[in-house]
């Protein structure tokens, strides 16, 4: 019923444009809106209920690049990678029903990691809503807990306003994913549309508060009185584009700063005040000294349980200053003495003005002391192993030596992720892309594809385990078709390594279903016409990595690493950060 009528409508629509009023379909006005919002790249997959949008897209090929992924989950992870690498909003298209439900994992990932996304899903005709129509699913209710905002459009006249709101909400304040579900009739509906107006105000939404100087003063006073101050920073610094402001703050105050994995790269690895990684597999000093610091300054981080370990033994001696744009984060897990609610791009310079110049030499020496112990006991054996088996750490060391810290490193989830976060060197912000909060296996490959579109001039290396790779290998097809020059590095230990490590340490080595077999990854890549090779000897590692990184296009390298290597240090679950184990 729709087809004949629709074609007529669309042809009419294509013919007519005027200066202020645009006559066209809901689909066309949606795409125009995306262009107005500065979108250039869309990751998507067509289907019945989103066909009118794809039909309109046919005429927009010169303005909007559409990357056809192989699965909607791959599409949304790619959009996440794009957003994280570029700082722009990632855009995803998916059809109704299974197309939309396949987005859910990515939405949850983006929600917990505050990644700005706008997802457009098709929906059945409005008159069919609630009839269990073909590919109908209640997308709005399914995605409500995993979106910052979502909305169902049933009338084309709503599209412009809703799209403008979606972009504003996705990228402002604490960013997050937004989903717009558009019924097929609205996509087809022919209307006269006014000019697109970007949204910059929603009366019920306060993306960021006006900063109150009283809090800054209280925070500065506390910081200036501290003998052992310690900064914990997270992705908030990156999301707020406040890297320079943050550097100025630590340079003046001389306070050692440690990062959550989401905050990694906000300052270069080599910065003298960068004392390393927090949390379960973080560095020795930052974890132990969390329980010795007298003032903790938390910036754009949310005290996740993987960072804090046992909460009732976490930093009890310290007074906490918490800077966050989201008021719900202040006092959520750790009580703040002073909560500085605001955008750290605004609050940090104010704070920098009020803090005293300092060096904290003795306090920093303590971090160095712990670091030396960690180097001796953990880092050197991992980076320069003497046994026959290769370690993940030495692979990372070689990457650092080849790329010099300029590559974008995208990781999946598990042991290789922790090793990569621990040992990868970063000179630039937005270079560490990982699934932090949700821990989504299968994130790495599609996110790396997106990251390459977000940062086309950078070398993008996807570091993935043999388990995680097998969750989304279909995206090799996307690489094959669109040529994203992603370097895929599979660290294969022939186990689901992180779970195996826990089973070894905490479940009496009862290896329950962690023994995973793999296909011939090299042959798999080659079947997608992607160059590939495999290394199982240290002697060939360096050359193989250089070949991969220097290769023109995409390349897959499988490195066989020690089967039962563990990631240390480790704060065992339920233990205090100061009870971190070196072995």
């Amino acid at each position: 019923m729709e087809t004949a009528q629709d074609t007529i409508q669309q042809n009419e629509a294509k013919a007519e444009t005027s200066k202020t009023l645009f006559k066209g379909t809901g689909s066309q006005v949606l795409l125009n809106g995306l262009i107005e919002e500065g979108v250039t790249t869309i990751f998507g997959y067509p289907g019945g209920a989103i066909m009118p949008i794809y039909d309109a897209l046919y005429d927009y090929a010169d303005k909007l690049e559409h990357i056809l992924v192989r699965h909607e989950q791959g599409g949304i992870h790619a959009a996440q990678g794009f957003a994280r690498a570029s700082g722009e909003v990632g855009v995803v298209f998916a059809t109704s029903g299974p197309g939309a439900t396949n987005l859910v994992t990515g939405l949850a990932d983006a929600q917990i990691d505050s990644t700005p996304l706008v997802c457009i899903t098709g929906q059945v005709f409005a008159h069919l809503l609630g009839t269990d129509a073909f590919q109908e699913t209640d997308v709005i209710n399914i995605t409500t807990p995993v979106t910052k905002w979502n909305y169902q459009v049933t009338d084309a006249k709503e599209i412009q306003e809703v799209l403008a709101k979606a972009f504003y909400i996705a990228k402002s304040g604490r960013p997050g994913p937004v989903l717009i579900d558009i019924t097929k009739n609205a996509q087809l509906q022919l209307e006269e549309f006014p000019e697109y107006v970007k949204c910059n105000h929603i009366r019920s939404y306060r993306p960021k508060p006006k900063v109150r100087v009283e809090y800054i003063e209280q925070a500065a006073e506390l910081i200036n009185s501290a003998k052992k101050p310690f900064i914990l920073f997270g992705q908030g610094v990156i999301l707020g584009k406040a890297e320079e402001e943050f550097k100025a703050f630590i340079n003046k105050s001389g306070i050692p700063a440690a990062w959550t994995i989401m905050g990694e790269g906000a300052i270069p690895t080599s910065h003298p005040l960068n004392v390393g990684m927090l949390g379960m597999h973080g560095n020795y000093g930052p974890n132990v000294l969390t329980n010795e610091a007298d003032v903790i300054i938390a910036i754009g981080m949310r005290f996740d349980d993987r960072v804090t370990g046992r909460l009732d033994k976490y930093a009890k001696q310290a007074k906490v200053v918490h800077l966050d744009i989201d008021p719900a984060e202040i006092d959520k897990n750790v009580k703040a003495e002073v909560g500085v609610w605001g955008d750290c791009k605004e609050t940090l310079p104010l704070l920098t003005n009020l803090v005293n110049e300092n060096k904290h030499e003795d306090w920093l020496a303590k971090f160095r002391q712990y670091n030396q112990e960690e180097i001796d006991q953990v880092i050197t054996p991992e980076l320069y192993p003497t046994g026959d088996e290769m370690t993940m750490g030495e692979v990372l060391r070689n990457i650092n030596e080849i790329c010099g810290g300029d590559a974008v490193i995208v990781t999946d989830v598990g042991q290789h992720q922790m090793v990569a976060c621990r040992y990868a060197k970063f000179n630039n912000t937005r270079s560490n892309i990982t699934s932090g909060g949700l821990g989504t296996m299968g994130f790495g490959l599609p996110a790396a594809i997106g990251a390459k579109y977000g940062a086309p001039d950078k070398t993008v290396i996807a570091i993935i385990g043999d388990g995680g790779f097998q969750m989304t290998p279909q995206e090799l097809g996307t690489i094959m078709q669109f040529g994203a020059a992603v370097k895929i590095l599979i660290l294969n230990n022939r186990f689901l390594g992180m779970v195996r490590q826990w089973q070894q340490l905490f479940h009496d080595k009862r290896y329950s279903f962690v023994n995973i077999t793999s296909p011939d990854f090299v042959a798999l890549a080659k079947s997608y016409y992607i160059e590939a090779s495999k290394v199982d000897e240290r002697a060939n590692l360096r050359t193989a990595l250089e070949t991969m990184i220097n290769h023109e296009g995409s390349y897959l390298l499988e490195v066989m690493v020690g089967r039962e290597n563990n990631v240390f240090p480790m704060v065992p679950q339920g233990m205090s950060v100061s009870e971190i184990r070196l072995k």
């Binding site: 105000h201 508060p209 909560g339």
Partner: protein, 212 residues
Amino acid sequence: MSTEDKIKYTEDTVDLEGKQEYTITVYAENRIGLLNRIAIIFSKRKINIESLNSSASEIEGIHRFNIVIHEGYEVVRKLARQIEKQIEVLKVYFNTNEEIIWQELALYKVSTDEIAEKVTVERLLRQYGASAVVIRKDYTVFAVTGHREETDALVKALEPYELIEFVRSARVAIIKDSAGFHEKLKEFEAFEPGEELVENEFLEKGQKIFTM
């Protein structure tokens, strides 16, 4: 309330785990799906909603939810912040019972014969502040407005006399210390956030109304 009364009141209402009844007042845009968005904030944390009312507010187009839960102060404060974080929520308040005026409405359907024979309608009307809404040959419907204990008391009283149907509404509550939402809304409609909007307990610890 005198200090003595206050101590007694606290003893009566706060249980051993430090939990008590809180009434959460939410001012929000009237939008499909928002109720679900708010409800899942509770269910995600496995917290039961004792009572939920959704109605118009003093301002046209702005909706007001009253949600009653039995929880500790810290939990309620975090919940309130999560609710206020939702895009279409304008403002969230949470209050203990002593800080609000609240009412529930209950309806009772009773056999008219029973009532006429065994209890006098007049007694019911007087003792429980009930009003007869409908009187028919076969049944009579009474309405009582009041606190939970009051409406419960009439259930007890009517039980022996064939209580055919009973229903009680959600709680509606007015905050004693509130000046309404008109002024706040003007600030929300302004582009630049005003001072009032960023009030929070780090500075205003002594405030009588808990707001964010």
